[in-house]
């Protein structure tokens, strides 16, 4: 079955659009599989997402259940990662916290990547005053330090996950627009785009169907490399009390509350720290691997 798919996908004489598309995807996958670091990253990410999704099944306790008699307990059989200052099980909170943290990251990416791509590709393709306007707006957002702007936004709205997502998204899109614009500028003048122009296609069609898809690989790479910094911004907002609100478990917020007893009960802060470190590292590994596979300029 799998070997059938393999021969079908790798067939140089593809017989249908579907076969050609799968052949292309399969080759990318094969190239990615040959990169051990990228595979490690991918495995960690898939595992983390799976753990977060399955949190209700896997978590031994309710993440909000307090057991005040058993505060700040050391790791034990009953609580493998110990308990926090309200006697809540850290493992359960970590698993549920993954849902919040990873959910925030994914929401940010879903908002940011298409926005950046659209702004960048349109600015780059149309040029002139469209470009000037869009890029000046981008510059304004780019000029603010990400965390400060996010803080201001959250403060203006109300602290919470949604505002944190919105705040991070608003500060994260400018680099994507810049990348997409730079890519578009190199693609815009090529003969293959001129050839599409000669089919009578409208500029919007050219941007959406021919230019933008070519910007996607470098954006994907940038997204994966950016993931870790988005996680850290999300965690920082949580740490500063501007992100997810207690008692909702969020990795950054968990570290924030644990900071008071970080010297005596280090394990309370340690596990969310390790979780953030691992997932950031995993996204970086995957991003590096994807850059090698997807970026046409590398080959």
């Amino acid at each position: 079955m799998l070997s059938d798919f393999r021969t079908w996908a790798l067939d140089d004489n593809a017989n249908s659009r579907r076969q050609a598309a799968w052949g292309r995807r399969y080759r990318v996958w094969l190239a990615l599989k040959g990169n051990p670091l990228a595979m490690i990253g991918l495995v960690i990410i898939v595992a983390c997402v799976a753990l977060a999704v399955l949190a209700p099944v896997l978590a031994p306790y309710d993440p909000a259940m307090q057991e005040l008699g058993n505060r700040l307990a050391k790791p034990s059989v009953a609580h493998p990662l110990g308990t926090d200052e309200l006697g809540r099980d850290i493992l359960s909170r970590l698993l549920y916290g993954g849902r919040v943290t990873l959910g925030m990251v994914i929401a940010v990416v879903v908002l940011v990547a298409p926005l950046g791509l659209a702004v960048g590709a349109v600015a780059g393709y149309f040029g002139g005053w469209v470009d000037t306007c869009l890029m000046r707006v981008t510059d304004v957002f780019l000029a603010f330090p990400r965390l400060i702007l996010a803080l201001a936004f959250v403060a203006a709205l109300s602290p919470g996950v949604q505002s944190a997502i919105l705040a991070i998204a608003l500060t994260a899109w400018p680099p994507y627009a810049r990348i997409a614009r730079a890519e578009t500028l190199t693609i815009r003048g090529t003969d293959f785009i001129e050839a599409v122009h000669m089919t009578g296609a409208s500029s919007w069609r050219i941007v959406a169907r021919h230019v933008a898809p070519l910007c996607v690989p470098s954006l994907i790479v940038r997204v994966t490399l950016d993931m870790s910094s988005i996680i850290i911004t999300a965690a920082s907002l949580g740490f500063l009390g501007m992100g997810a609100q207690p008692p909702s478990p969020e990795w950054g917020a968990m570290i924030a509350t644990a900071k008071r007893f970080i010297l005596d009960q280090y394990w309370v802060a340690l596990s969310p720290c390790i979780a953030i470190l691992m997932i950031s590292l995993a996204f970086n590994f995957l991003g590096d691997g994807l850059r090698d596979v997807l970026d046409p300029k590398q080959s």
Binding site: S16, T199, G200
Partner: protein, 253 residues
């Protein structure tokens, strides 16, 4: 004479520098007009202005007696198509041949995409098996055939050829030149071909214009050229150079 293309007083400037300084020529229906010149002579710029890919021109360009403006309509491109120089750069790297060929049909909402794509491939003597391949899986000659097929799928009357064979090996060049000659005969196409290679122009075209420093310094028929009737020194230079390099036993230039 049934004039297909009429160009008069064509001037093209990039910023302050004028690269085409008043070019006039006309091409009869079904004829092949060659523009020959060295790099920087402005020959490709003229062709791109004809194709509507350059918006910085002034003067008159008319197809079938109707002057065209700076911006071309979709209908214009059902009549005029272009084949680019570099077959590696003129095909979208992330699209299959099928996608590249069907774009015109999708944009213009014509039916029977399958049939027309297959017919276009057959027209340029490519096997149907290349249809779902990506450009990087094809050889240079095959890619240039795909580029020609893409132009033909619009069923145009005029084909603008920008150095269509200069990026190809000589043996492949012969195949592509034969294909172009054959297509013109069968489909009654009008060609305007730009090349730095006088022999290639002379092979395909009956008339040619010689460009130098943005001006068309001479227009003559291929027969006149062969009979040594060129009057402008630059044309004579190009012809002498071409002759000296195409014979293997001639003394060194």
């Amino acid at each position: 004479m049934n004039t297909m293309i009429d160009v008069a007083g064509l001037r093209i400037a990039f910023g302050a520098s004028e690269v085409v300084k008043g070019v006039d020529f006309n091409v009869a229906r079904g004829a092949c007009f060659g523009i020959v010149g060295e790099s920087g002579s402005g020959k490709s710029t003229v062709l791109r202005a004809l194709a509507g890919l350059n918006r910085d021109w002034s003067g008159r360009i008319a197809f079938e007696g109707t002057p065209v403006g700076l911006k071309r309509s979709g209908a214009f491109y059902t009549k005029v198509q272009m084949v680019f120089q570099d077959p590696f750069g003129s095909l979208h790297p992330a699209q299959t041949i099928d996608r590249i060929l069907s774009e015109f049909l999708l944009v213009n909402r014509t039916g029977d995409i399958d049939g027309r794509v297959n017919r276009a491939l057959a027209e340029v003597a490519l096997p149907p098996s290349v249809r779902f391949r990506f450009p990087h899986q094809l050889s240079g000659g095959q890619r240039q055939r795909v580029a020609i097929a893409r132009a033909l799928i619009a069923e145009p009357e005029v084909l603008l050829l920008d150095e269509p064979t200069s990026a190809l090996d000589v043996s492949v060049q012969a195949e592509v030149l034969n294909l172009l000659a054959d297509l013109r005969r069968r489909l009654g196409l009008t060609y305007v071909m730009v090349s730095h290679n006088l022999a290639v122009i002379a092979h395909l075209c009956e008339h040619m214009g010689v460009m130098q420093h943005g001006e068309m310094v001479e227009q003559l028929s291929t027969r006149t050229l062969r009979e040594g009737g060129a009057t402008h020194p630059h044309t004579r230079d190009l012809a002498a150079l071409s002759l000296s390099l195409e014979t293997v036993d001639a003394p060194a230039v």
